[in-house]
Amino acid sequence: MTALKTENGFANPDAAYEALVEAHRGLAEAESAALNARLVLILSNHIGDLKVLKEAISLAKKAG
């Protein structure tokens, strides 16, 4: 049983993607990496479920 949702969750997914892209505009590579790290931590904690987090990690690894 998977706990990770992979179907679309946003009413407007394009706007969500745009928000992420905009957050990185104008940042140097190191700043971008640091921003991503902070985001990952914030979102992980928001999910607050180690099982979901681990499934997300393995999906991310598989896709790369």
Partner: protein
Amino acid sequence: MNRSAANKTVYQFGYRRSADQDASRPVRRPVVIVGAGPVGLTAAIDFAKRGIPAIILDDADRIGEGSRAICFSKRSLEIMDRLGLGDRLVEKGVVWQLGKVFLGEHQVYSFDLLPEAGHRMPAFINLQQYYLEGYLVERAAELPLIDLRWRNRVTAVEKHDDFVRLTIETPEGEYRLDTDWCLACDGARSKVRDCLGLKFEGHTFEERFLIADVKMSAEYPTERWFWFDPPFHSGQSALLHRQPDNVWRIDLQLGPDADPDEEKKPERVRPRLERMLGERKFELEWVSVYRFNCARLKKFVHGRVIFVGDSAHQVSPFGARGANSGIQDAENLVWKLALVLNGEAPESLLDSYELERGQAADENIGHSTRSTDFIAPRTKQERVLRNAVLQLAPHAAFARRMVNSGRLSVASEYDSPLTTPDREAFAGSARLGLPVPDAPLDDRDGAKRYLLQTLGEDFQLLYVKDGARPNVPEGLRMTVIGEDLIDREGHFTQRFDATPGAAYLLRPDHHLCARMRSYDGNRIREALARAKGSAI
């Protein structure tokens, strides 16, 4: 024994010839302990308290070449209290329970280790390891069943079916000694382990750390202070913690490329410390540069050779889990081996030492590895993630909880075949598999006692009064709460979720192994047999 008055405390002992060295054939003993560190000494004293003679062999003849451990946990103090050293350690030690973590100059996280009142022992004390060892040696000297032999170096170990033969080098030449059981308490570089050809599997961290003990009068509070990226030691981490005698422990992270010999030189160390301590005058007591390991033996019991303490497992010091876990190993093993030696339990009971302390070792290695990785990230990306936690910490509570400068040693909760599972629900902080929590009580004369002080070295039943005293199985000690001890303040009732008639079975190491809402003689008999290994 002498204590030198110099700023470095040293206990000096003498070599004495033993009659065993003159025997024509190797003398046979029940228990020989290799190593008079905190772990070997604890084991020997515990054996003596159980009536079993123990020989301790140590290759050195002094204590005090550098301090190493400074933080001793409540659980260690409770064990030491049972062995007769609790008051002495707490009196000499510096009691603390607060830790603060700083990012730069700003505090980002703090912890309080003992929010519960009514415990005889504090959450932690700081004390130089040489004091602990010195006191243990003095305690051992009071016990005629202990024979402590200095400058006795074990050089070879021969395993036989039902005994172990040791070859021992002394200033007057070599001799051999046979023993039913050999406890290898000879530390992280264990010679016994080498003699048996066993692998110590684990990980060495690249990072180097400067550890200094500094004597100074300073007004800092008695708290554990840890900095990430402090202004005085940019980009690295630092720790400051008080010990007795106005000695302060300082750890400074140096990075993986630091040259240990250069970094130990006073002309190198002093400026680093001056940046941290400012104008204060200080003396250097001891300086060392470390690279830390986390490693363990796959198995701790090898026939009649049993590994205990650092010889069995090693951790990095963040979390103070080295000596503290070794002391718990010793206590876990000794009552079991005493039962086996007295013919009261099968040898297979020792498998539970392996299992329970193996779980504890994994837990300790897990914690100290995570702490070390947080303090010294292994890769660039790991550092990015670590820094992200630190950057978020001032803004978000979850990130403060992730800041890891060491998770301090607490007692391990055993998931063990010696435990009888609960049939009824129990709340409270007392938990199956954990040592029972302490509680203040009054004895029959109204004198104040602490629960743990009353427990002793044997299996013990705590029964909450509900009419007449039940007839407990022979040999089991019972204390009736509400009769022998009175719970005036209600701490016991709350911590044990006690109701009239409830019964709690405690192992000799005070771990809770069975409980029930009403006294059931058969269940208690079964639980007792199980705790002595019947189900292994």
